[in-house]
C-alpha cells in the first residue's frame, strides 16, 4: 500500500495509513454492545477530540451531526445503545464509521448484509463515490448481483487458489459461477469459495 509492504504492520499502523475495514459480523468484531452509537463511532471513525484528558463527547456529537453519510445511511440516533439495535442498524453504524474518514483503502466484507433495498443502494453509491474520490475498495461478497453491479474487476478465491482478475463486462455470471464451481470440484469444499472484487 502506497508501495509499502504492510504484511507485518500493526493494526494501529494500518489505520494510520488510511486503511478501514467493515467485517462480515460487526456485532462480533467491530462494535462494543454496551456503548452508545456515538461511543462506537469514536472507535476509528470520528476523530476523537480531547478535553481535559477525556474525550470531548459534545464536540463528537457535533461532528456526528455534520457528516452527510451518517444521514444518508440512516444511522440510528447517537445516544442509542448498540446492544438494542437491529442487525441492519449495527451494520449502518459500522459502515458509516468506516467511510466517514475517507479512507485510502476500504475493505468491505458483505457491507450490504441485513440492510433494506434503499440503504443497500446508498451503500453502493457510497462505495462508488469513494472510488471516484481515489479510495481503493476491496469488496468481499458472495452476492453475484452485487459484485456485477459495482465491480471493475473480480477475483475468485476457490480451492486455495485465486482466479482472475476478470472484467465483469466480458465475463457473464454463468461463466463466473462455473469458475467458482470448478474450484469446488478441485477441493470439493465450498466454504472457501468467495468472490472478491476490486472496484
Amino acid at each position: 500500500m502506497d508501495e509499502v509492504n504492510i504484511t507485518k504492520a500493526s493494526i494501529k499502523h494500518r489505520i494510520e495509513m488510511g486503511m478501514r475495514m467493515v467485517t462480515e459480523d460487526p456485532l462480533r468484531d467491530n462494535v462494543v454492545p454496551g456503548f452508545s452509537v456515538l461511543q462506537n463511532m469514536a472507535l476509528v471513525g470520528i476523530p476523537p477530540e480531547r478535553r481535559r484528558g477525556d474525550i470531548d463527547w459534545e464536540a463528537m456529537q457535533k461532528q456526528f451531526e455534520s457528516f452527510d453519510s451518517i444521514k444518508t445511511l440512516g444511522v440510528p440516533a447517537s445516544n442509542r445503545i448498540t446492544r438494542d439495535l437491529s442487525g441492519g442498524n449495527v451494520q449502518r453504524v459500522a459502515f458509516a464509521r468506516a467511510v466517514i474518514s475517507n479512507p485510502k483503502l476500504l475493505i468491505a466484507s458483505y457491507p450490504s448484509r441485513g440492510l433494506d433495498v434503499a440503504t443497500v443502494n446508498v451503500v453502493y453509491n457510497t462505495l462508488l463515490r469513494l472510488k471516484a474520490g481515489g479510495t481503493a475498495v476491496l469488496l468481499i461478497s458472495e452476492d453475484l448481483n452485487e459484485l456485477y453491479a459495482i465491480s471493475d474487476r473480480i477475483v475468485v478465491l476457490a480451492a486455495n487458489t485465486s482466479f482472475g482478475p476478470f472484467d465483469p463486462k466480458e465475463l457473464d455470471m454463468k461463466e463466473l459461477g462455473k469458475i467458482m464451481l470448478k474450484g469446488q470440484e478441485m477441493e470439493n469444499e465450498d466454504k472457501n469459495s468467495s468472490s472478491e472484487a476490486a472496484v
Partner: protein
C-alpha cells in the same frame, strides 16, 4: 348483576397484581431480602448448633457498633478491602480475573516493612510515608507482574496463576520471617524489625483508625474517574466491552491488559503498605490474612463498580470483625461468620442485580 361485578373486579385485580409485581421488583424489597434471607438462614444454622440466635446476633451487633474501638476495627478492614477489591475490579474491566490480591497485598506489606526499617528509615515523615506507600505499590505490582507475564508470554490462565501465587507468597514470607528477616530482638517471634517511628500514621480516638481509609476511598473514586471520564478509561471500557472491536480499532489489547493488571497489583500492594504504615508497624505472619480473598468477593458483590465497592468493603469488614468477637463470646469458630458473609454474597448476586430484560 353477577357478571357486572366480575367485570368490575377484573381490572382492579389486574391492577393490584401489577402493583404487587413491581413491589417485588423494587429496590427496597430486594435490599430487604438481601438482609432477611442470609440472617434467617444463618439463624437456623446457629439454632441447629444449639447456640442462642438472639445472643449471637447481639454479639455481632455490639462488636461492630458497641464501641468506638469496634468501629475503628471495621474501618481498618474496610480500608484493606476497598483496595483489594479494586485490585480485582480493574482487571475485570479488561476481561481478566485477578484472584491474587491476597499475595500482592502480602508482598506489598513485607516489602514496605523491609524498606521502612532499612533504606527508608532515616527519611522525614512528609517524604518517607509517600515513599513507603510507593514501595508497597511497587512490590505489589512486581508480584502481579509475574502472574501477568505468565499469562502474556506463556499463555497460562491468569486466574489460576494468581491464586497459586497467593500460596507461594505465603510460604516465601514465612520463610523470610522465620529466616533472614526475623527481628533479632523480637523474642523469636516470626516478625520483621519495626519500621522507623516517623514513618507511621497517627492513630485516632484511641482506636487503630488512621488516614488509610481516606486514601482507600480516594483511590476508589480515582479509579471510577479514570475508567469513566478519561480517554484511557474509554480504551479500558472498549476492551471490556468487546476485545475484537478493540483490536480492530487499533488498540493493543494485551499491552493495556498488562498495564491494568500491574496497576491492580500496585493497588493491592498499597493495601499492604497501609497495613504496615498504619496498624502493624512491622510484618508478621498472618497479618492481613484473608483480606485479599474477601476483597475479591467485595468486588463480585457490586459487579465491579469501584465506588460501590466502598460499601461492600464496609459490610464484609464489619462481618469480619463480628466473627472475631463471636468466637470469644459464643464459642463458635471465627470462620463460621464466613458462612454469613457467603450467604449475603449469594443473595445479593441472586436478587440484588438488575433483572435481565
Amino acid at each position: 348483576m353477577k357478571t357486572k361485578t366480575a367485570a368490575a373486579k377484573q381490572p382492579s385485580d389486574a391492577g393490584r397484581s401489577v402493583a404487587l409485581g413491581s413491589f417485588f421488583d423494587s429496590t427496597p424489597f430486594r435490599a430487604l431480602i438481601c438482609f432477611v434471607a442470609p440472617v434467617t438462614i444463618f439463624g437456623l444454622l446457629l439454632a441447629s448448633e444449639g447456640k442462642s440466635v438472639f445472643e449471637t446476633y447481639k454479639t455481632i451487633y455490639f462488636s461492630i457498633f458497641g464501641s468506638v474501638y469496634g468501629i475503628g476495627e471495621v474501618v481498618i478492614r474496610a480500608t484493606y478491602l476497598i483496595l483489594t477489591s479494586i485490585a480485582a475490579i480493574l482487571p475485570a474491566r479488561v476481561g481478566l480475573a485477578n484472584a491474587g490480591g491476597e499475595g500482592q497485598m502480602a508482598m506489598g506489606a513485607v516489602g514496605t516493612a523491609v524498606v521502612g526499617s532499612t533504606i527508608f528509615s532515616r527519611l522525614v515523615t512528609p517524604v518517607g510515608i509517600p515513599m513507603m506507600l510507593l514501595a508497597g505499590m511497587f512490590f505489589g505490582a512486581l508480584w502481579a507482574g509475574i502472574g501477568i507475564y505468565c499469562y502474556m508470554r506463556l499463555g497460562m490462565n491468569e486466574t489460576l496463576t494468581t491464586i497459586l501465587m497467593n500460596y507461594i507468597s505465603t510460604f516465601i514470607i514465612a520463610m523470610l520471617l522465620f529466616g533472614v528477616l526475623r527481628d533479632p530482638k523480637g523474642w523469636n517471634y516470626p516478625q520483621t524489625v519495626q519500621i522507623a517511628k516517623q514513618l507511621r500514621f497517627n492513630m485516632y480516638f484511641g482506636t487503630r483508625m488512621n488516614v488509610g481509609i481516606f486514601i482507600a476511598i480516594a483511590m476508589a473514586f480515582f479509579v471510577w474517574f479514570v475508567i469513566n471520564k478519561t480517554k484511557a478509561g474509554f480504551v479500558i471500557r472498549t476492551i471490556g466491552g468487546n476485545q475484537n472491536a478493540a483490536r480492530f480499532a487499533g488498540i493493543n489489547v494485551k499491552k493495556v491488559q498488562a498495564l491494568v493488571f500491574l496497576a491492580a497489583g500496585a493497588v493491592a500492594g498499597l493495601a499492604g503498605a497501609i497495613m504496615i504504615v498504619g496498624v502493624e508497624g512491622r510484618m508478621r505472619t498472618g497479618a492481613g490474612e484473608t483480606m485479599g480473598f474477601m476483597g475479591f468477593l467485595a468486588a463480585g458483590m457490586v459487579k465491579n463498580s469501584p465506588v460501590l465497592a466502598i460499601l461492600s468493603a464496609f459490610l464484609i469488614g464489619a462481618l469480619n470483625v463480628a466473627g472475631n468477637s463471636m468466637e470469644i463470646k459464643t464459642g463458635l469458630p471465627a470462620a463460621s461468620i464466613q458462612i454469613l458473609i457467603m450467604l449475603v454474597l449469594l443473595t445479593i448476586m441472586t436478587v440484588g442485580g438488575k433483572k435481565k430484560s
